[in-house]
């Protein structure tokens, strides 16, 4: 089992949804005194289990609010699951909320150093990669322009370029291929497939069934936080499309 890359064991995630947000401060003290909870429990995920080997790719399909993004955030370590256990091996490049860590007042180059360090890379390594990143994002001529003046497509391109050009063992992509024009989308898909050939494990969320089939071997269908179906990408996406048509 040495080539195991991601293992998710019976993972459940619960959120406390406070009913009256604006009264949180007051409520908190009432709770404290009474020792009662005024929260609605909401299980975003229940009993999720699967395993991925190094180099495999899995797509996640499901309606909005089915828990896809939550699952990816758990795997990338941003959140901790309420129950269950997640083990990952190697470095993770999460493409969640592309450009989320960017600072709009800084230039593209400064942001490459900033977010690159956020991914845990040191400065020398980044210096050797700056040109490559700018090339891929097609932003050479805007390298010294503050991101404030960028379009949203340009920002997403930069985000994608930074997250994928550095070698990672696991790539987590949430709706990233919906950014940019058709040409750049094609470039992203190619990039992901070449990463896969190099042995990167890919976890991929998309609303486009075609994209999942193109990028992934396996797929997981989530419905209301539960596993509805798991199997080969073609089988799962076919069943999912059929259920969409029936509704």
């Amino acid at each position: 089992m040495s080539d195991l890359s991601v293992r998710v064991e019976d993972v459940s995630m619960m959120f406390n949804l406070s009913r009256k947000k604006e009264e949180r401060f007051k409520e908190y003290f009432i709770n404290l005194i009474k020792g009662e909870l005024f929260f609605d429990e909401f299980w975003a995920l229940q009993h999720i289990s699967f395993e991925l080997r190094q180099g495999e790719s899995m797509g996640f399909v499901g309606l909005n609010g089915s828990g896809k993004s939550t699952l990816l955030k758990l795997i990338s370590g941003i959140m901790k699951p309420t129950k269950g256990k997640i083990t990952t091996k190697g470095s993770i490049a999460p493409l969640i909320e592309l450009g989320g860590g960017f600072d709009r007042d800084l230039t593209a180059i400064e942001n490459i150093y900033l977010t690159g360090a956020m991914h845990g890379h040191n400065k020398q390594f980044l210096r050797s990669r700056v040109e490559e990143i700018l090339d891929f994002a097609e932003l050479q001529e805007f390298a010294n322009v503050p991101l404030r003046n960028y379009s949203s497509g340009m920002i997403s391109r930069l985000g994608f370029a930074i997250a994928t050009l550095v070698e990672a063992d696991i790539l987590i992509a949430d709706e990233v291929l919906s950014v940019g024009d058709a040409r750049f989308r094609k470039k992203c898909e190619d990039r992901m497939q070449s990463l896969m050939k190099e042995g990167t494990t890919i976890l991929f969320v998309s609303h486009s069934v075609e994209q999942v089939r193109k990028v992934c071997q396996k797929a997981l269908w989530l419905e209301k936080g539960q596993m509805k179906m798991i199997g080969s990408a073609v089988d799962v996406t076919n069943a999912y499309s059929r259920s969409l048509r029936e509704k």
Partner: protein
């Protein structure tokens, strides 16, 4: 523990980057830029000296030095803690995107303020030259009160940044608290202005202890009482321990609130 150290080393470059970013942003588009870190304490000292030195002429020698010794530590503490309080909220872009040790954002605000502290020290040395306060060997112990203040500030910042996530009101509340704290610490008035019976209470104020140690090294060229040093160390260590405990206990819940 081992993992925590490895994490710290791995993300140390990230800390450097966000400190650089914060410094850059602080002086963004200003003509004088970083020079303000020197001009700020300089002008503040001149103003306060002009206003108060006459009033406290009899009880304070070398008023500008007296004021600077206190204010450089106090501004470091109040600046760091006030910014640390919303450091998690301001940096939610990072926290929602990827795993990074969250305390790094606290440390970055403290580091930025530490840069200011460093330049204020240069102003202090300059002011000593101008006003003719003798340079003694005791000056090499200045890092002692500074270290104590830094440890205390880290602890307090961790606590504030934790509860700042859960209660947004804390931001405003703490602003008022800091104002009160500024006046309750003898920064621009002499300790002797406090009635005798209340002076024991002033020892409950950690900042007062650190400022006293600093002044005694710079102005009197001697160590303060052992009691003061022990008390100061106790405050720093306890505050740091509380900070680490509170932060570690709550950090996994942050993402629900930011």
């Amino acid at each position: 523990m081992k993992k925590a150290v490895a994490d710290f080393i791995k993300y140390f470059d990230f800390l450097k980057q966000i400190v650089l970013r914060d410094i850059k942003k602080k002086y963004y588009k200003s003509v004088l830029g970083v020079l303000w870190t020197i001009l700020n304490p300089l002008f503040m000292t001149i103003i306060i000296t002009l206003v108060f030195s006459h009033l406290f002429k009899r009880s304070i020698d070398h008023y500008p030095i007296y004021y600077l010794c206190g204010t450089l530590l106090f501004s470091f503490n109040s600046g760091s803690t006030r910014q640390a309080l919303h450091s998690m909220i301001v940096n939610n872009g990072f926290l929602r995107k990827i795993y990074v040790p969250k305390y790094m954002f606290c440390l970055s605000t403290i580091s930025v303020n530490f840069v200011d502290l460093f330049f204020s020290l240069l102003v202090l040395l300059g002011a000593m030259l101008v006003t003719g306060v003798p340079f003694t060997w005791k000056l090499i112990y200045i890092p002692v009160p500074i270290c104590l203040t830094v440890l205390f500030t880290i602890g307090l910042s961790l606590v504030l940044s934790t509860y700042g996530v859960f209660f947004r009101d804390l931001n405003h509340l703490y602003g008022i608290f800091v104002t009160a704290w500024t006046y309750l610490t003898p920064l621009f008035y002499p300790v002797t202005a406090i009635p005798e019976q209340f002076r024991v209470l002033y020892n409950l104020n950690p900042m007062h202890i650190y400022v006293t140690i600093m002044r005694s090294l710079v102005l009197d060229a001697e160590w303060p009482s052992v009691y003061m040093l022990l008390l100061g160390t106790l405050y720093s260590v306890v505050m740091l321990a509380i900070g680490i405990f509170v932060f570690r206990k709550n950090q996994d819940k942050f993402f629900l609130y930011i």
